[in-house]
């Protein structure tokens, strides 16, 4: 065991998120234009959360059919997480359709932010916008330190941290499938089979056999770690330093619970105690 290395670090992060600027309230036209674009690269968005930016249409049609738009986007692999900008009516309609609200200018924290359970659950992440540094994104009640007396009525003040929710997957990741926890940790509660790919910008935890590839710290976070319940991986990588197991996984960790971290540029695999 390496006693010098800290077991964990807590850091704040402003995470990038894709915005879809909606310029026309004309849904059929919008769908047509989107379809045209998306058909060229059908898998491009593969469950990437997207914020619908409504400022350009705030003055126009108050009743954009969000449910229809979200369903259409889902069909094309885009996962609408919420809206920003727009008129009060539009924002209310968006909430009705299960979308979250992102602050338009400065913190007007939404009191009601839900993820639509029908959305591909793990992908329904909520993000802070990078243009607004220091604004809280996902807020769980435990994290909020300042609570007004009547939280329902008045806008809440929020903590100045951005925590991207961990991506939790409870279904097997099979050959040919790839899961990416963008700017977040990835927790997998089922198997990751040979030929599968787990990628996270943060840590990766697998509470089942890991038989595929696991790539942590995908954007260069050298402090990222991989924790596995049963190590049978094809490839392990942290911040670009990787290891393959042509001659098999070393016996002392093969099939065992293990953690993988970086020491300099060396990938260290060690069995977990107990």
């Amino acid at each position: 065991m390496n006693s010098e290395a800290p077991a964990f670090k807590i850091k704040t992060a402003n995470l990038p998120v894709l915005q879809l600027h909606i310029i026309t309230p004309d849904l059929p036209l919008l769908k047509k234009a989107l379809a045209l674009r998306l058909n060229q690269t059908p898998d491009f968005f593969a469950s990437t959360p997207i914020v619908l930016e409504l400022s350009a249409i705030a003055e126009s049609d108050p009743s954009l059919d969000f449910s229809a738009l979200v369903a259409f986007m889902r069909k094309h692999g885009m996962c609408a997480a919420g809206v920003s900008g727009g008129s009060e009516k539009q924002r209310a309609a968006a909430v009705q359709s299960g979308l979250g609200l992102f602050p338009a200018a400065f913190v007007r924290n939404p009191s009601k932010r839900e993820t639509d359970p029908s959305l591909a659950a793990p992908a329904a992440l909520l993000h802070a916008q990078p243009e607004l540094p220091g604004i809280a994104a996902e807020i769980t009640p435990e994290v909020i330190s300042v609570q007004p007396e009547t939280p329902k009525e008045s806008p809440r003040k929020t903590v100045q941290t951005v925590i991207r929710p961990t991506l939790v997957i409870d279904k097997p990741v099979r050959t040919g499938q790839s899961i990416y926890a963008e700017g977040a940790d990835l927790v997998l509660l089922a198997i990751a089979n040979a030929g599968s790919e787990l990628i996270a910008d943060g840590d990766i935890h697998v509470y089942a056999p890991l038989r595929g590839k696991a790539i942590a710290g995908a954007h260069g976070n050298a402090a990222a770690r991989i924790f596995v319940h049963k190590l049978e991986a094809e490839l392990l990588s942290i911040a670009g330093c990787f290891k393959v197991f042509e001659d098999g996984i070393p016996e002392e960790v093969r099939g065992k619970a293990a953690q993988i971290h970086l020491e300099g540029t060396r990938l260290v695999i060690e069995a977990l105690p107990g």
Binding site: R74, S118, P172, R174, T175, G176, Q177, A190, N193, A194
Partner: protein, 269 residues
Amino acid sequence: MAKVIVVTSGKGGVGKTTTSASFASGLAMRGNKTVVIDFDVGLRNLDLIMGCERRVVYDIINVINGEASLKQALIKDKNCDNLYVLPASQTRDKEALKLDVVGQILDELKESFDFIVCDSPAGIESGAFNAMYYADEALVVTNPEVSSVRDSDRILGILAAKSKRAVEGRDPVKEHLLVTRYDPKRVNSGEMLSVGDIQEILRIPLLGVIPESSSVLQASNSGTPAIHLEKSDVAEAYRDVVGRFMGEELPMRFTAEKAGFFKRLLGGI
């Protein structure tokens, strides 16, 4: 409500068509109105295995092109009253089959059948996708070897992510594992994966194990689904599979090595 069941595997030659024929026959023998559809356009085989190749006048592509009605294209099985075959076309290519028309055909069949068995082609291209997209349940046919298991894993991933049920966010396609060409002797000698090994990788419920048998070849050459064979392990195994599919609890058979003549003679000392 009619159920659509896809018989799929990813890899070729593992026994999808043999299974489709026997499974559909087994369902029909229990009194269910059943239709089995060959989705392998261009390489049709199901009609041979069902022994109806000489009665194919119209095929699924004729139906799609409006050259024949569904009723005209359906061939009544020679062994079972409740069973019909919808053959694939031998002469067209796979692109003739489109997802939306497949949906229309299945909807029409749902009105008059209890079970619709879709015999998928190998691979993960459009043919296989057409066969699996509308499925309510899937029989994943796997041989006890690494490449077959890997391909089945791939298919399971596609079922979980891209089937109609998955896309619409409904209950997922119900998955069943069917291990075919199982040879306990070769498993014991380490040449083949065991049922346990396969389940450890795929982690879906086991519906049955079909033993390796030369009688399967005889059956397909003679155009009789293997489930109709007399005194055959394979036929019994397929009957068990159908029983379990219908909800019966039956012990797994044919997973242990057969006792040799002397062993039996000596009473297993």
